[in-house]
């Protein structure tokens, strides 16, 4: 949107004078995460840094990791996807609805529908050149409406039978780690490879750095944009399916505001909203940071959960202020 911040292509070549600042912007979230985890461990010991609690944080954060991974692709391409929270809810409802046809129905039905919603987003943004914010605002409404329509305005809660593969997998653990966490990590790893080591990833950066120039150089801009929105919707859909599998049901009210949480995680991770620059490692650190802070506030028994929001919001503002200051120093 605005041009106040420095833009950087995928391989960073910071000037020698600004190297420290660049490093801080790139790995700031990870550093802060480290400090917060250390302080949390000192303050609460095993209650925070024990296997049980860490597992809770990981399971809680797994759906956000999936959504934020897709969101990173979209934001690096210069767009934004507000529809993911609603798509997550829709996927959960469709998964529960489709479970009457077994595991295949519970997984394929939501993913196909969510993929189609992503395709509509991508075509409206990429081909029709409409503003991503408005397009995905519309699909936010549409997906939420469809989720309520399928579940009879929320009156009908579909149950996923507990003996299906999808429910058992969603609730299983491998070596003490929940399967949803493993799936989220696998998807995240695949995302890192796709963004940094493939032609598609390079194109996403190029499109985000300047759509017109990328098009003039012959890149398939429309297909790249369609691709990132399909990816984002699919990952939100996968997150919805996993939540439905864990809870053995689909609720149309889930995921409200989750899109903003994902955007916050991506931005805290150092990805610029103006597009063309960002890293998935930062996004993961951003997600963990949000979840760890929520968890720590929960540990302080005397603090009401309302303070979670106060601290979370204030922290977000603090991080972007620091980032802006660093970007300024680098420009000088």
């Amino acid at each position: 949107m605005t041009t106040g911040q420095a833009r950087r292509a995928a391989p960073p070549l910071p000037a020698a004078s600004g190297r420290g600042a660049a490093l801080a912007q790139r790995h700031g979230a990870a550093l802060v995460l480290l400090v917060v985890v250390l302080l949390g461990s000192l303050a609460f010991g095993d209650r925070f840094f024990g296997l049980g609690n860490l597992g809770t944080i990981a399971l809680d954060g797994s759906s956000l990791v999936l959504i934020a991974t897709g969101m990173t692709f979209v934001i690096v391409s210069g767009g934004i996807d507000l529809s993911v929270g609603s798509v997550l809810a829709l996927a959960g409802v469709l998964s529960a609805y489709g479970s009457r046809w077994g595991t295949a129905g519970a997984v394929l039905l939501p993913l196909v529908v969510c993929g189609l919603i992503g395709l509509v987003n991508g075509l409206l943004v990429g081909r029709a050149r409409l503003a991503p914010f408005v397009v995905t605002l519309a699909t936010l409404l549409f997906a939420r409406g469809l989720a309520f329509a399928v579940s009879q305005e929320g009156n009908q809660v579909y149950i996923i039978p507990g003996d299906l593969v999808v429910t058992r997998a969603g609730q299983a653990t491998v070596l003490g780690v929940g399967v949803p966490v493993l799936i989220a990590l696998a998807v995240f790893a695949a995302g890192v490879v796709a963004l940094n080591r493939t032609r598609f990833g390079l194109w996403v950066f190029a499109v985000g750095n300047g759509g017109d120039a990328a098009g003039l150089m012959g890149l398939p801009v429309t297909r790249v944009k369609a691709g990132v929105y399909v990816l984002s919707s699919l990952l939100a859909g996968l997150a919805g399916v996993l939540i439905a599998a864990q809870t053995a049901s689909g609720l149309p009210t889930l995921g409200e505001g989750r899109e903003l949480e994902a955007i916050a995680a991506v931005v805290i991770g150092g990805t610029l909203l103006s597009g063309g620059s960002g890293s998935l490692g930062g996004t993961l650190a951003g997600v963990l940071l949000l979840k760890v802070i929520q968890n720590l506030i929960n540990q302080v028994g005397t603090l009401s959960s309302y303070y979670q929001q106060v601290v979370g919001g204030a922290f977000l503002v603090l991080v972007v202020l620091v980032q802006a200051a660093l970007a300024r120093r680098r420009q000088l």
Binding site: A138, F142, S304, V310, G313
Partner: protein
Amino acid sequence: MAATSVTGAAMSEALTSGRTARAARLRLPDHGVYLALGALLLFNLLFTANFATVANLRLQLVQVAPVAIVALGMALVIGTEGIDLSVGSTMAIAAALLPLYLGYGPWPAIGVAVLAGAFIGLVNGGLVAYGIQPIIATLGLLVAGRGVALVLADGRLVEIFDPTLAAIGGGQVLGVPVPVLAALGLACAAGFVLRRGAFGRRVVAVGGNRAAAVLAGLPVRRTLITVYVISGLLAAVAGVLTTGRQGASDPSFTGLLIELSAITAVVVGGTPLAGGRVRVLGTLVGALLMQLIIATVIQHDLHDSTARMIQAAIIVAAVHAQRDRSGT
């Protein structure tokens, strides 16, 4: 309604807005929202029982008033190529402050609530003027603001038995509800300021071409801070009106997700997200259109979910119609 349509993709355009605005007014896309509202009204008059009753019209207008008031501020912010996600939380803070200060009388309490809204706007505007992306600056206050409101009220709904607040939220003047009058009055003020004042020109200049506005020596930062302060003020007013109408301060749900309704009203009303143009009347009509879609669908025994899907289609159609001019 030339009074409320200020075009100005470029600054020169803003300075000679008279002729440009008139030429633009003849184009169909600009009128889409009015035509849609007209068609929906006609449909309702013909096919909806008890639609054209005073009670129903009054209800629809009262329900849309807070959204319309918030959307007015949002239109100004979007005119500067910004966005304000914190309006719903600002409404909640205003609602949470009212019962805390009612002991000093209703007007001081309202004053504190509105000042708090202005202060939140000041923080938003300061962050944006410093160079933070508007969406992320105001997202911080969306999250933190709701938390502050809940902390202030200890998360509880508080019933309010104050006659002045009840009159502001639920009273009528000559049969017109007070919130509706407030929305109309504020819209007239916004239209007047945008058309007559230098401030309106600055808003579209900052949104149309930030670099040119800086080079022309316009007070860009002051303009940015001012629009966010106005947005915060209007959100607080909407919060006071909502609280008065409900007879209760509800920090959990007051203004929840209203930022999306307000942005929708602004965009459907013909203000492009890319800034450089503010349409006040279009914003009001956009808010009314979205409200009437829900009312129509429900009065025909269809569901809320159907209304949301229709709204989604209307939003896409509206931005598609505007696409060629706005350059987004």
